[in-house]
Symmetry: C2
Subunit: 333 residues, 2 copies
């Protein structure tokens, strides 16, 4: 059974996922070759290589777990958390733990092994967003969960082990540290000014223009003022809202459009980088969270200093966001 443990100093929760455990000898850094081709469990026709689907979009109404789908969501075959059981929160002396209860699902974004989020059509990307929404709304009903993390690791350097385009979703009984920090900061700003800090950022960035990468009716892509990573990009919905799953259809449409534009620009300017994509959205344990503003962060994995940085959370970034924005703005789509 995986476990959730809380660091008694910082309050940071981590997942100790012993079911995925490797023996010490297995820890040599793997080569950056991804599983592909005939062994790919995500390709059309290989449906029996995954656990049974929890959601699928099938235009012609074929039966589940066979071919004919546009998008499938399946439980992760090697889940970091386990969906059955009780949390059993308990103390171990001064330490806090609970069972590693949670859902860990994979969104197979396309049946076609050769496509990526950057090369899919806008309609196909939007479908992925609707799948996120549908899974979030479903998992939200489970009162054991407080937060759903939707993310994508693209490329080996970003932590992907499979080549076929997919995203992941983890439903958690805790709010992860990076979300807590953002929430606290946004709440502080809201309490002081009665304004959303993200709305303030959007206004200031649109007025200044220097860090704006691209803009459409509902979404603006900016290089944030204090980026941790070179070419870090935030996709901010212009309208205020605290939760991804509560956005309206035009926002999803325009987010899909913006995602395609940003990823294509990165592919062009940075030679198809690996990247992490993370949806930042308010936890549902916080009923209103009016101070928070959901958004998407795309973090290209370009430098290899992440050893130090992931150990300290202290970032040295060799590229200014002004230059990053300029390069991505200029990249032909």
């Amino acid at each position: 059974m995986p476990e959730l443990r809380k660091d008694p100093i910082t309050g940071r929760w981590v997942i100790i996922s012993t079911d995925r455990q490797k023996r010490p000898n297995d820890f040599r850094l793997e080569r950056a070759t991804l599983i592909g081709g005939e062994y790919c469990p995500f390709c059309a026709g290989h449906e029996d290589m995954t656990p049974p689907e929890v959601l699928a979009f099938r235009p012609h109404g074929q039966p589940p777990n066979g071919p004919g789908w546009d998008l499938r969501v399946v439980p992760n075959k090697f889940p970091a958390l386990q969906v059955e059981g009780n949390l059993d929160r308990e103390g171990e002396g001064m330490f806090d733990r609970m069972n590693g209860i949670g859902a860990h699902e994979v969104i197979i974004e396309t049946p076609d092994h050769t496509r990526s989020l950057a090369t899919m059509t806008e309609v196909e990307i939007e479908r992925v967003l609707w799948a996120f929404r549908e899974r979030i709304l479903d998992l939200k009903k489970d009162t054991r969960f407080r937060f759903i993390l939707v993310f994508k690791n693209h490329g080996a350097a970003a932590g992907a082990t499979l080549e076929h385009s997919h995203s992941q979703l983890i439903a958690l009984p805790i709010v992860p540290d990076f979300v807590r920090e953002e929430l606290e900061g946004a709440r502080r700003h809201f309490e002081q000014k009665e304004r959303c800090v993200f709305c303030d950022i959007i206004r200031q960035e649109l007025a200044a223009g220097r860090r704006v990468i691209h803009e459409n009716a509902d979404v603006v892509a900016v290089a944030p003022y204090a980026p941790r990573f070179p070419f870090e990009t935030w996709l901010l919905p212009k309208g205020h809202g605290s939760r991804f799953e509560e956005a309206s259809r035009p926002v999803y449409e325009n987010l899909a459009r913006m995602l395609k534009s940003v990823l294509q620009r990165m592919n062009r300017a940075l030679e198809n980088p690996s990247y992490n994509l993370v949806i930042h959205s308010a936890p549902f344990s916080d009923a209103r969270a009016e101070y928070y503003h959901w958004h998407v962060e795309v973090l290209p994995k370009l430098t290899r200093t992440a050893g130090f940085e992931s150990g300290t959370g202290f970032y040295i970034n060799p590229t200014s966001p002004e230059e990053a924005a300029q390069v991505l703005r200029a990249a032909k789509v």
Copy 2:
């Protein structure tokens, strides 16, 4: 001029180090080959390949910047921060910035290219600790600085670009985020209980034993209860003290001994892993910091999921600290 910028949401400071800037095309992930051999600027006889030394231990009193040394400290040739100038703190609308003023030094731990911290003698390792101390005490006099980060990237996967054994030191006009978090947590515990949280952890871990890797008169090495990374190891001085540079000679001796023991165990059990080592010590902007307990963290770089984790600060760890401690305890030194 490098710049320090503050994220307006989380309050996290980052260094935008444009002097080290790479062009977009230079961002392809480099191969994991380290600079070595005749091109190594840190080998004895290559003293003219580094900036002039700021400290050296030379047993026979030879002149500076030539051979005959046991240890040298030199400014980093490609510093993340610049030592000359004023901070010029200013706002840019809602954003906060200051000039990237700071020191960035390299501690060349040995003249011998073939040695590492794990294979150096205890006396040699202790010498490295004394060099850290001496540089910290010197840089502390500069009132522009609030924190000194002492760290080591060993191996390409941990972010090292040079093979020759060395550590780094960065003096900062801000307190980095990961330190702030720890300080706040420790302060909270101290306010509630009038006890140091690290002292409490040491007492509990020594009583339980399951996560203890090794212990000597002054230092205990433990696998922390909620580790972010497989085989994450903390070296905690048993006596309470908030600052590395205020420790006593026996503590340095026993820390050197413990470092050697832990690194050798890791080399044996994990096949010479890359690792990051970070000294956690109270900022000198906080005069007393009685609630804080300095220590050393060693973070082996074994998994390649760091893409996701460095982007979110959310950690999934496939190895329990109990198993990690057992493996490292059993590793023959």
